[in-house]
Amino acid sequence: MHIMEGFLPLPWAVFWWVVALPCLAFGIYQLKRILSADREALPLLGVTGGFIFILSSLKLPSVTGSCSHPTGTGLSAVCFGPFVTSVICAIVLLFQSLFLAHGGLSTLGANIISMGVIGPVAGWAVYRVLRDTRVHVYLTIFSACAIADLVTYVVTSLELALAYPAEVGGVASSFVLFLGIFAITQVPLAIVEGIVLALVFKYIVTLKPEILVRLRVFPEEKIRAAAGDAQ
């Protein structure tokens, strides 16, 4: 869920850029560390970015009839970690604004924080909590992706509420209204995205489980067990 160009007043646009820059700097530091250790990682990270871009430009089957796109950041955070996801996501968000006119340049900082930092971190945290429990891998992926999407929508609502506080009740009241309005599209979208990405995971487990073993997404025996369930 992107905040479109022109929606944030200048002070808030600058504020979110200032918040986003240290996160990006840390992500770039992590990226440099990964690339100095393994040069082959660059093309793989590149295709991950391409995958997120394509995934986010596909129209998701929608129950509300709205034009909805998955974020794909939950799956990326699970597979590649939240910090690298933030750098990839920043590049993808820039491409989305310049390829598809989704999002914006002044609102890029706010969108990086919601879609590239806090959403993926929340999805990754859920995955880390559930990863070593007895919860099934598909349910873990569903929860991580749906939570990443929901948290992105909550943070976006908060960013808008901070910029446009209500006359009565201030930021809290405005936050409730933005949450309520966007819930119409975003809650079904998060559930459908969770289901779709869990099915995507099942497809990969069935056809190419070695990718997930190499990325150490789950212990090998858990992936083998899931592959057995899928067949």
């Binding site: 690339l35 590149g46 604004s97 006119a101 002044s106 289901i195 497809y203």
Partner: protein, 262 residues
């Protein structure tokens, strides 16, 4: 569905050969002026001027341009509605307060605030579309190199850019095959087909990455990509036109600051 990428239009734009810095300055300067303007007329002027520039100078099809606004329109509709309802002040036309801490109202200041945000959205999105529809991404990589953005980020951006087109070709093939087999006929079928499509794309992406590693190693890749920037010097006429546009918008922003819709 997938062919709506604006990059192809940018490559065929009549402003393709115009200096990249001038086009970027026009778009980003216009966005900044829209945000700085306290009134709604200056952002509207930006929107109208840049639409005319896109249609008559860049020769962009008007239907394509309208299509650019459809994706953000839903977000704009919901958000502006919320901004109008929570922003009170001035004469109140309607009010509903279900809780002491929560009230919705339709007031003069709320409608004026909504109009300003709508105008900024129109101006900002048109400015963004101006960059998107006239400047191919390959021109921006040269700008990123000159702006001293870390090489790792520029290289990653270039690989993402390249991969998008490789994967997109794959997506179009799979999607068309699914549509031909009624893969999107019901909601349940759509979810299943969409998941299969995404899974196939993930695996294709991974394999494309492995192929790329092999191809780059075979060509003695040493960790740095070369960027061949081919940019024309800025034409005096285009610089003068952009300066005039900025000065007019700035003057309009100052003189119409107090004008509101109601």
């Amino acid at each position: 569905m997938y062919e709506e990428i604006l990059e192809d239009i940018a490559h065929n734009s009549a402003l393709r050969e115009t200096n990249t810095a001038v086009k970027l300055a026009t778009g980003t300067g216009a966005i900044l002026l829209c945000l700085l303007s306290p009134g709604f007329l200056a952002p509207l002027f930006v929107a109208v001027t840049l639409v005319l520039a896109l249609v008559f100078l860049a020769r962009v099809d008007i239907h394509t341009l309208l299509h650019v606004y459809t994706a953000p329109a839903l977000f704009a509709l919901f958000s502006i509605l919320a901004i109008v309802l929570v922003s009170g002040g001035g004469e109140c036309f309607w009010r509903w307060q279900p809780f002491p801490w929560f009230a919705l109202s339709l007031s003069r200041d709320g409608i004026n605030q909504g109009t300003l945000v709508l105008a900024r959205f129109a101006g900002g999105t048109t400015a963004l579309a101006f960059i998107a529809l006239t400047t191919p991404m390959t021109d921006l990589f040269a700008v990123m190199k000159r702006a001293r953005i870390p090489d790792e980020v520029t290289d990653l951006a270039m690989i993402i850019y390249r991969t998008i087109f490789v994967i997109m070709a794959h997506v179009v093939q799979v999607y068309r095959a699914q549509v031909m087999r009624l893969g999107y006929s019901t909601f349940r079928e759509s979810v299943r087909s969409f998941a299969t499509l995404c899974g196939a794309v993930f695996i294709a992406s991974w394999e494309a990455g492995e192929d790329l590693v092999r191809a780059m190693e075979a060509r003695c890749y040493d960790g740095k990509f070369a960027v061949l920037g081919r940019d024309r010097p800025p034409a005096p006429l285009s610089v003068a036109a952009v300066t005039l546009f900025f000065l007019t918008t700035g003057a309009l922003a100052v003189t119409t600051a107090e004008i509101t819709l109601l």
